[in-house]
Amino acid sequence: MLSGIYSLLMAGAFVVLDAVDVAFTEAAVGAGISTVLMLGTLHLTRSREKIPTHGAFLPLAVVLLTGGILLYATTGMPAFGDPDAPVHTHVAPRYIEETPEKIDVPNIVTAVLASYRGYDTMGEVTVIFTAGVGVMLMLGGRKRRRDSDKEDGV
């Protein structure tokens, strides 16, 4: 429930940052589908936690180390809204200049996603497809049992 509220707040933050497409995705996926799937998972799991077989020290150390490295990495990032940041000087100006004449789509985000970065988007769709296949393999075990029953009968 908290993650759902968090996603909705993040969607609002993205709207404030003028990233409407990202806000849209965050609201639909984060606040909508993820919450429902989380509830489905809660329905599947048991109410009591298993007794852990190892101590909490090693996982805590890993989490703190990773968090520390990530925090250290943010100090190397360009300042917020810096016009000379690599993001704004590499290919982004070309996309913005060329899109009206070459692709002629009002929404540049769509042009970048679907055309300039079409290969990446295909990879993303493949990831979603693979995730779906994985869930089917792990949770859809009922059909296989029926098939094996049939084979036994024959």
Partner: protein, 138 residues
């Protein structure tokens, strides 16, 4: 959920509009915010709402897992085949400019088709994952 009259009536009223909004986001992605991913998720949300209110058995009748499996693969294949058609027409993989004689029209067609592919795959996978999760406990 058989006794929740208000929920049943309201969701019955809402579901067509959710699906319509999904289609709008799908085909309006060139002009405003949106696109295949968001449209697929919104479309799936309509079906998931139906499954929550009217029961999983009815939802399975509406979207049989066999059809969902086919749709999952079809969306990705549609995406990839648009790229292959671009190669056959003499361009690079996923270069839409060669799909039509006019490069800009080709880009429009290519973006429309691949967004459709993305939407179909995302919607099918989301509904499938939900049906798998809810069907597990029984």
């Amino acid at each position: 959920m058989r006794h929740h009259l208000v929920l049943r009536v309201v969701s019955k009223l809402l579901i067509p509009f959710i699906l319509l909004f999904g289609l709008y986001v799908q085909f309006h992605g060139d002009f405003g915010p949106g696109g295949g991913f968001q449209a697929g998720v919104i479309f799936a949300a309509g079906f998931i709402l139906y499954a929550l209110i009217f029961g999983r058995e009815n939802a399975v009748k509406v979207t049989p897992p066999r059809v969902l499996q086919a749709l999952m693969a079809f969306g990705l294949l549609l995406y990839a085949s648009v790229g292959v058609v671009g190669m056959i027409n003499g361009g690079n993989f996923l270069n839409y400019s060669v799909l039509r004689a006019d490069g800009v029209a080709g880009q429009h067609l290519g973006i429309l088709l691949i967004e459709l592919g993305v939407g179909i795959t995302v919607a099918a996978v989301m509904i499938m994952v939900f049906l798998m999760f809810t069907g597990r406990g029984r």
